[in-house]
């Protein structure tokens, strides 16, 4: 029984997504889907509970009074063209544009008059439940809730963590976005299927909420102007994937017999994880099968550090850069060059660009 109802729910929602038509047999065929809530000032749609509700039949009551069914300027709406129209009966007296009197005669006042709604006998009450209304209402509510949760979450990640750092905030936001995008990765039909199964006896509102969750996840990642989109842009809207983990690099140590009294030697020895007179190394495989060590100056976690007192753009220096890049790639680690000032950093960046090296970063570390 549950399975049958689940299938019906899925079919109904997929049908609504494709055609805009509500589940067959659940409502009359006068209107496909609509939002009865309008802003009385400009006629635009509003969220449920705000603005003014213009009946549940779907057509503009004013049009209905004048004998027109749904559609604009007397034409049938696109969805209605191929179907016979059912004559609409007047339901509710709606506010009409009024002709001003006096000095402004002839000027149409488009502000609606405050006219109490009149219920015509034999018609549904305006607050009566309508499956389509409920469906749309549920979808809208879910979208709004999802947006609220995300904005709250971003704000929380940025402000409430007592040890908030830029990195922590970024991780928190990234986690939320990953969750959102991961949800987007799941095919919509699967999500709807799950929702429909879980809500075998769900109302149209519930189905709407389930569908809107999927749409909302996708929409929020693209919402322009929102803080979320800015963070997402930083991540390039990448799909949420786990970064593969590798074993830590096998660091060797080689003896260095350089003059330790030089200022650059002291600078190199101050690198994180450095040992005086010893250089951390990574093994590089040569084309002939032999292995040779590539020297660095320090190690910090999975990062190997090479300190450069002065950037040199000579053949040996360029060859060293390529060696380091290759060995870092082989060991799946990222290298860092530490330089004493911004001038050297700019030179290093130019050298990286020239040599197409992307797995070494550079940062300024004052001596």
């Amino acid at each position: 029984m549950d399975e049958i109802q689940g299938q019906m729910g899925r079919r109904a929602f997929v049908g609504w997504l494709r055609t805009g038509r509500s589940p067959a047999g659940r409502i009359d065929r006068v209107e496909l889907k609509f939002n009865p809530w309008h802003d009385p000032d400009d006629g635009r749609f509003t969220f449920a509970g705000t603005g003014r509700r213009f009946g549940t039949g779907g057509a503009d009551p004013a049009d209905q009074i004048s004998g027109r069914a749904s559609g604009i300027f007397g034409r049938p709406s696109i969805g209605d063209r191929n179907r016979p129209r059912i004559p609409a009966t007047p339901k509710v007296q709606a506010p009409r544009a009024q002709q001003r009197v006096g000095n402004d005669a002839g000027v149409i006042d488009r502000r609606p008059a405050i006219v109490p709604l009149k219920v015509v006998p034999g018609l549904r009450l305006v607050n009566q439940s309508n499956p389509v209304t409920e469906f749309v209402g549920g979808a809208g509510r879910e979208l709004r809730d999802l947006a609220n949760e995300t904005v709250t979450g971003v704000r929380s990640a940025l402000t409430t963590n007592p040890v908030t750092t830029v990195r922590n905030a970024a991780l928190g936001i990234a986690g939320m976005i990953d969750a959102g995008i991961a949800a987007d990765d799941v095919p919509a039909r699967v999500q709807i299927s799950r929702a429909a199964d879980a809500l075998a006896n769900a109302s149209a509102r519930d189905i709407g909420r389930a569908g809107a969750y999927v749409v909302g996840n996708a929409a929020l990642t693209l919402a322009p102007g929102a803080a979320l989109s800015k963070v997402s842009a930083l991540r390039g809207l990448r799909k949420a994937r786990l970064r593969p983990t590798y074993d830590p690099p096998e660091i060797g140590w080689a003896k260095e017999t350089l003059d330790r009294d030089k200022p650059w030697a002291a600078y190199n020895d101050a690198a994180p994880g450095a040992q005086a007179g010893q250089a951390p190394t990574l093994k590089r495989k040569l084309p002939n099968g032999l292995e040779r060590a590539v020297k660095f100056d320090g190690v910090q976690g999975d990062y190997v550090i090479d300190r450069k007192w002065k950037i040199v753009d000579a053949p040996h220096a360029r060859a060293q850069l390529l060696r380091q890049s290759e060995v870092l790639r082989r060991h799946n680690v990222i290298g860092t060059w530490e330089v004493p000032d911004q001038k050297q950093r700019m030179k290093a960046l130019m050298l990286f660009k020239k040599m197409n090296v992307t797995n070494i970063k550079v940062r300024v570390v004052k001596p």
Binding site: E256, L258, K262, P263, W264, N268, A279, V294, K295, K308, W309, K310, I311, V312, D313, A314, P315, H316, A317, A319, Q320, R323, K347, M350, K354
Partner: protein, 103 residues
Amino acid sequence: MIAMQVARIIANFVVFFELADDDIVDPDTAVKMMEDLGSGLDTLDKGFLRELVDAFAVIAEENSGEVQEVIRNIPYSFYLEEELAADDPVRLAELDAIREAKD
């Protein structure tokens, strides 16, 4: 005159470390020595450094092939022209453009 002598010493030093085989000199150590030399050149008096830069061009002409190329490129490799133009942003921009075009 002194500039020419010093330039010759520096040129020999650079040629050795640039052209020595990896089995003779550890390439990473060679780079360290070149970085040390470069930082030393940066601290020279600007007028003397100018004389050195001009001297490298003369010394390069006395050699040929790979050695000539290495000596001629000493100012480029150690950013010596940039060091001399440190207070002249227009000249620095020009040198950047030259370097970029050469690369």
